[in-house]
Each structure stands twice: as C-alpha cells, then as structure tokens.
Amino acid sequence: MVLGVFVWGSVQIDGFSSGPSVRAMLVIASLLALASLGQTLVILVGGLDLAVPGYITVGAVATAELAGTKGWPLWAVAVSVVGVCAFAGGVCGAICHYLRVQSLVVTLGMSSVLIGGVIVATKASNLGVPPQDISKWTFVMGETLDVPVPPVVCLAVGVVVGSWLFLAHTPAGRRLYATGANPRAAEGILIRTGRVWITTFAFGAAATGLAGMLIASYSSGASVTIGDPYFYSGLAAVLVGGTALGSARGDFLRTVLGALILTALTTILSGMGLGEGDSRILFGLAIIVVVLAYGRDRRLRDRI
C-alpha cells in the first residue's frame, strides 16, 4: 500500500520522490507515528485514548515554555513531562479498570483537565521557542552520526524494533495482548489485568508526551491546540495500519505504515492544489478505500 501511494504521488507531482520531499514526509510521518505509539498500545489492551491531544499539549508547551523561555535543561523538562503524563495516564487506567468505566469518557475528561491545566499554568500565553538542542532532532536536513537521515526518523525506526521485541518476545508484552484479547481469561491465567491497564495507559501517555516535545520542536513553538490534529490523524493511522479496536491484533509497525500512507496522501492532496475542505473529503474517501482493501470484518453468518 505504501509503495502504491508513493508511486501514485511520483506520477502526480514533480519532485515528489526527490530527496528533500521524501525526507520531509518521513519526518512528518515519524512524528505522527510516535504520537500514536501510546494510542496503539492502549487500543491493543482494549481501551481508547482520547487524551492524546492533552499529553501532546503538555509536552509541547513544556518544551516551549520551560526549556525555551525559562531555560530549564532538556532532561529536566523531559522528566517532568514524563512524570505528569504518566501520572495522568495511570489515573485514567486505574479509573477505567477498577470502576469498569468506558475509557473513552475518562480520557476525554483527562484531556480537558490537562489542556485546562496548561492554560491556567501559562496564563494562555505561549510565546516561547524550543531551544536549539531539541530542534536538531526534527530538522528535515538533519543528520544522525553523519548519515543523512533526520534523527527523529531513526528514533521511530528504533521504537518499531523496540516495541516489536517488547510485544512479541517478553512476558510483559504477551500479558498485554492477553489482557486485550480477553480480560477474564487473562485473569484466569493469573495476569494482574489492573496492573497491565495502568502501566499501559501510563506508558502510552508518557510516550505521547515525549512525542509532543518533538512536535513542538518541529513546529518551533507551541499552542494549546497543537495536539488536536494528532488525535484524529493518529487514530486514523492506527486504524488504517490494521490494528483493530476491541481485538488485540496489531503492533506498532502497522501504525508506522499507516502514518506513512496518510502522510504521503496528505502531501499528494495538498500538492494537487486542493483546499482544506476538498483534501479532507479525499482523505476520508482514501481511508475507506484502504480499509476496504484489507481491513474487512468477517461476515455475520460466518461467525455463528
């Protein structure tokens, strides 16, 4: 699918497959994928995280304000972002699990709390610019150890490998799948599903917060609405990648492929000179086509 979309793009637009444009797309796709790592894990465990914009906003605004304006060292900012996001995510996971509440509503509320908290803390002024150190990560022409690939792309590849090793080859990863597939059966084989839920939500939140820091550096600034586009596109990336809601199938590699498809599509659509409205229409239609191609459920009469 990625190849197909890419070939279509090369035919449609001059310079689509040139070096700088591919690099730019890779950077955007990596950011989208990293921002959806948390969502992927939470969906695998059987939830849905609507607090993604909240975590991204926390990470982005912290980078711009604390590191940019107040001059905190980056590691301190990263530690505090991870702390805040992991706490918020853990609370969500705990509430959802122990009170049997829909994760949708809890995380929706949490998103509102986080964004509201950021507005209160910054008094709604976000003028800071992220420091140079972190901007290097997402600089399109950046290099990793003299290899001409932006560091954030390498990071995404590293996370793909790491998450695959974790999910497929560690007991914790198998527990995560087991909990997502059937919580009661998982309890039956002595998995503490509560602990799995809390750590998954907390880890997902922390990862999304860190992605928010990178997003701030990419867009050289932050606002309280910076996370909004990443929720719907991120969810679309997860779903187009083939990780299905409510069934513990899928992994992070699929999300990365989904993010690549979506980013290439967006680039093609904006390259064809379409307005915001038209490109959204085509984006929606493209999701339908992609998912129709390989993401269909079984027939009802085959499930009896």
């Binding site: 049997r100 709390v113 409205g277 929606g284 339908i288 998912v291």
Partner: protein
C-alpha cells in the same frame, strides 16, 4: 410476606439492594440526580434561571446538545458507534445557511425535506459501509467524519451570517411553544412512533448479541442500516437546532459536538458495548453537560479555568456513576 419483612427491617443491605436494582435497571438515574443537583446550583447562583421567561432561550440552546446525543445513541444501542454526528450536524448547518437560504430555498417546507434527505443519505452511507463493506463502525464513521467536515468546509470556508429566517423562532418561541421543545419533541416523537414497531426491539437485540439475533431470523443488516439512517435524521434536526442558536455557518464545531455527544451518551448510562440504555439517559446526560457549562459561566470562573473544571467534573461524574453501579 417477603416485602413486609423488607419493609419492617430496613437495614444497610436492603438499601444497597434497592440502590443496585435502581441503578441497574435504570442506568440514567445517576445522570438524573446530577441534572437536579446542577439545576439547583444554577438556580441558587442565578435567580433568573428559573424565571419562565428564560426557559425558551435555555431550551433552544440546550436542543443541539440533546439532539447530537440522541443521534449518537441510536447506533450505540445497536452495538456500533457513530462519530460522524458532529460533522453531519455542522454540514446541515452550513448547507442551510450558506447554500439554501441565499438561493431562495430557505423556506421551511422546502429546506427541511432537502436537509432530512441529506442527513438520511449520509446515515445510509455509514450503514452500507458497515454492513456491506464490513468495516468497523469506528473506521467507517471516522472516514465519514473527514468527508462530511470536508464538505462543510467546502460549502462555507468562512462563517456566513444567516440573516433573518425561520430558524430564529426555534431558539426562542415558535407560536405558543418554546422552539427547543419543538426540535427535541420531533426527535422524541419519531422514537416513540418507532417504539410501536418491531425496529426498536430488534435494535436492542442486535446490540445485545448480533450473532444470536441473526440466528433468530432477524434481518440484522436492515436493522443496522436503519439505525444509522435514524442517527442521520436526528443529526439533521440537531443541525437545524444549532443553526437556530448560532445563526451563522460554523464548520469548525464538528469535532467538539461529536465528543460532547459521546460523553452525554456515556454519562447517561448507555453502554458503549450496545444493547443497554436509551434516549432518556442521553437527554439527561446532555442536559447535565449543558448545565455544567452554564454553571461555570454563571459562577464567573475565569475562562481559563473553565476547561480544567469541566474535565474534572466529567471525570468525577463518571467515577461516581462507576461507584454507584458497581454493586451489580
């Protein structure tokens, strides 16, 4: 005999049982209590809140919330989900304000059938994608979310003022009735009439266990498509009610209305797994969210705190409803 012993010995376990059965059978009780509490708080803070003169305006503002909540309740009852209700409501709003009214098609008798047809068609496409295309409801309606909000942006890239038109009455009083009551009433009437047919029972059955319902000979495909068409119709009415309140075309409201609708459904005790719940819960859930916003505005909380408090109260609400219904 049994009931008499229960009456004579009112102990803690009985109270718990009553509470459990009350919340268990009527999951909307919690939202109802919340609405009453918020209503009292609002009345205490703003004396004018209970003044009958303000009711039509309040109901008019409340109507779009309630109607989008209704629209997303129907597919949820059938075991699906519809996140395209917000964009559909704003598409109807943009279509009415930016296309129909300027072209002289704005009179109610012409505009309402056109808009209902658009809404039903959008719902029908959702249903076909899910039933025939066998897509997951979330994916299908997410794609429709993009398509519909794109269409709305295409029709009206920037907000257009509506001018003088018939929808204005729906935000105030239409004849002797408050306009908000009229739009909500229309949706409730459709629901009650459908309650006399087999459709609603089949819908709950499909939401409870689609495979078993299929085995029992029910046309599950038709019920599912019907649910999404009905959702489209409710979202259309929501779009008209929204136009009545804001009197401009606003393509940007789509995402927030989808989220509010889901929050209202869930707060109202309708299970997102399908098969349990109803419109009463969503009505109360939407009313609770609306009253919460009113309360925050009335207490003069600085605007920067509104979102924080809103989120905290939403979580607190869900936690409370989780604790009360855990006894089951």
């Amino acid at each position: 005999m049994q009931s008499r012993t229960l009456l004579l010995a009112p102990d803690a376990s009985r109270l718990k049982r009553v509470q459990a059965s009350l919340v268990g059978r009527r999951p909307w009780v919690f939202a109802g209590v919340l609405v009453i509490a918020l209503l009292l708080a609002n009345a205490a803070l703003q004396g004018s809140f209970l003044d009958p003169g303000y009711w039509p305006g309040t109901l008019g503002t409340l109507a779009p919330f309630v109607l989008v909540a209704f629209a997303s309740t129907v597919p949820v009852l059938g075991g699906g989900i519809d996140i395209s209700v917000g964009p559909l409501a704003t598409l109807v709003n943009c279509l009415l304000v930016a296309t129909l009214l300027p072209h002289g098609l704005g009179s109610p008798l012409v505009a309402i059938p056109i808009l209902l047809a658009v809404g039903a068609a959008a719902g029908c496409i959702n249903g076909l994608l899910i039933v025939v295309g066998r897509l997951q409801p979330v994916i299908a309606t997410l794609a429709m979310f993009f398509v519909l909000s794109g269409l709305a942006l295409h029709i009206s890239p920037a907000p257009v003022p509506a001018g003088d038109n018939w929808t204005r009455d729906l935000a105030g009083t239409a004849g002797p009735l408050p306009g908000g009551l009229l739009t909500i009433g229309a949706a409730v009437l459709i629901w009650v009439l459908l309650g006399r047919t087999q459709f609603l029972r089949n819908l709950y059955a499909v939401g409870g266990d689609d495979v078993a319902t299929f085995s029992a000979g029910v046309n599950v495909a038709a019920v599912r498509i019907g649910a999404y068409v009905l959702s489209g119709v409710f979202a259309t009415i929501a779009g008209v009610a929204l136009t009545a309140v804001i009197q401009t075309s606003q393509a940007s409201l789509a995402a927030s209305y989808s989220l509010i609708a889901l929050a209202a459904v869930s707060l109202g005790g309708t299970s997102l797994a399908g098969g349990r719940g109803g419109l009463i819960g969503s009505l109360l859930g939407a009313a609770a969210i609306f009253l919460l916003q009113e309360l925050l505005a009335a207490t003069g909380v600085p605007t920067s705190y509104v979102q924080l408090v809103y989120g905290l109260l939403l979580i607190a609400g869900v936690v409370l409803s989780g604790i009360t219904s855990k006894g089951r």
